[in-house]
């Protein structure tokens, strides 16, 4: 205690802490209500989801998830009775609403597209970004500051402005509505973040390691591979997660440049409709499945978050 006298002069009083804590906790709780509501709605039946007043207590059901993964057609009760016994929970639930499952919905292929495009573009962006970041960090590159500004400025272009010529270019090249086209585009958007973030991480690795390795007879390339890369793994992983989150969440390009085979989940989820409007439990189910990976990543990244959102400028 005696050692902390210098700090205790400026440390907040316990009363101030209590008030601050109460306000922060209240804000945190209110701000996650929409997310809890998404989660809750995904387990409601369609009638429960549109009840007035909104239902906080309800009988959980996985009908939303059934509807998310299937397409259904309305049938007469006679037709349904003539069918054999229901083959599983979803089949049974759907039949209670006088419908039969007609086939799988497009959600799974769209989700897989999201995975392919997000991971593909992340891999490319981090690969290119690591090389460039090392180049900018260790070598005297002419006009380095201008090149770095050029790289970053591409990220600030309004997506719709970029989408107009990209749309025409992809139409000429046959890249419209292809996963390859989207991977190239997202790589280009993410590489700017990757270069800036990774340059910060690589700057922090002492040059002496590589120089020592080169004295040992390694070439520059071997030294990069064997000493810099292993030291930069945390930075590379954090960068990769940021790129992954961007590509996963991206909507504007996906909505304008894909329509079918390469469509990702964000433009697809809002189009999930049931009979008589949006099928909110199914939308909520899709949203929940879509958001869970991001929640996990956010928790993993919490220490690097600040760095990621400021392009590596703010470190702590």
């Amino acid at each position: 205690m005696s050692l902390t006298t210098a700090h205790s002069v400026v440390a907040p009083s316990s009363n101030a802490k209590l008030i601050a804590g109460t306000i922060i906790i209240a804000y945190a709780l209110i701000s996650i209500v929409p997310l809890l509501w998404i989660f809750a709605t995904s387990f409601k039946t369609p009638p429960d989801s549109i009840a007035y007043p909104p239902k906080v207590v309800f009988q959980p059901s996985i009908e939303g998830y059934c509807n998310l993964f299937t397409t259904r057609t309305r049938q007469t009760p006679e037709y349904i009775n003539a069918l054999g016994p229901a083959t599983g929970f979803c089949d049974e639930t759907v039949r209670k609403r006088n419908m039969v499952i007609a086939g799988p919905s497009n959600f799974l292929p769209r989700f897989v597209n999201s995975l392919i495009i997000a991971f593909g573009s992340t891999f490319c962006a981090v690969f290119l970004g690591t090389l460039s970041a090392y180049g900018f960090s260790r070598f005297k590159v002419p006009l380095a500051d201008d090149l770095l500004f050029f790289i970053l400025s591409t990220r600030f272009m309004p997506p719709i402005a970029v989408a107009i010529p990209i749309y025409l270019m992809y139409r000429e090249l046959g890249l419209s509505d292809t996963a390859l086209g989207m991977i190239l585009l997202y790589t280009a958007v993410n590489v700017s973040l990757a270069v800036w973030l990774l340059k910060g991480f690589i700057d922090e690795i002492p040059r002496e390691y590589e120089e020592a390795a080169m004295i040992d007879g390694y070439t520059r390339l071997q030294a990069f591979w064997r000493t810099v890369l292993p030291q930069a793994t945390t930075g590379i992983a954090a960068t990769a997660i940021f790129c992954l989150i961007f590509a996963w969440n991206e909507y504007a390009f996906a909505a304008l440049l894909t329509s079918g085979t390469a469509q990702t989940a964000p433009p697809f989820i809002p189009t999930i409709i049931g009979e008589g409007g949006q099928d909110w439990p199914a939308v909520a189910a899709g949203t929940t499945i879509f958001l869970v990976p991001i929640l996990v990543f956010t928790i993993l990244l919490r220490k690097q978050l600040l760095r990621g959102i400021t392009f590596g400028a703010v470190r702590k």
Partner: protein
Amino acid sequence: MLDRTADNVARATPEPLAKKIRGISDKGLAWLFISPTILLLLAINIFPLFWAIYLSFTNYRANRPNEVVKNLGLANYRRILGDQDIWIAMQTTAHFVFWTILLQTVIGFTLAWLIDRKFRGHAFWTTIILVPMMLSPAVVGNFWRFLYEPQIGLFSYVVSFVTGIPPTNVQMLSNVELAPWAIIIVDTWMWTPYVMLICLAGLRSIPEYIYEAAEVDRASNWRQFWSITLPMALPFIMLAVLFRGIENFKMFDMVNLLTGGGPGSTTEVASITLKRQAFESWRTGYSSAFAIILFVAVFGLANIYVKALNKVKQR
């Protein structure tokens, strides 16, 4: 892997000798490492940009690729500057950017300041607060439509419960007066954590001894806040404001899903106008000119942003 001797030798080796030992020349390697990125950006960003500049001088329409393309000179630009709808869209954008930034900065800074009181469990609650900003604005924005739904939506229900307005009258998305605020609320909910996080970094960068000195001088808390806390956190606040300004200036996804620019064109921000002109009316040449104007504006802001970024970096 390497012993101390090797380390010392490396340090002692003069630079010219060290260069001889390396395989490929450094200059060659530097370009080998950097050029793929530059080439990709030239192909995917710069080439299309020049294409858009070219198109902005023509009457090209993407849905009629076989029509003869006429050179219009600066006519598209002149028409945009005289177009009433474009000016209304710019005003809508300005309203949206102004209020979102004001709210996010005030709330974000306050939250950061409170978190900096370091109460028990602040790290956990900070993480909870940060969650919304990591999510997809499109997917979450889409779900807010449900929360805004009159009567059955949770938001409308809470509003009518608190204010006593009949629940069917709380029409956040279809009321001309309320719709602009509906998008401001969602954006503020989503991005306040962003401003908060950067402000928190700013507050934590202030060395403790400055406060101790102020305490010795018997400066009041109020005085300390205005002459130490705020000025020293200001570069960070500016960074957050600039970045949110750029992002919200080009805002598309969330607004497109919440209101699609409606009702009428009350929430039609610049990017929505651009999308309508380019991908619904297919006035490719005209919308390219508008895109170039927006791009120049964003580029100017980005220039200022990078300067601010470098300034903060030196701290």
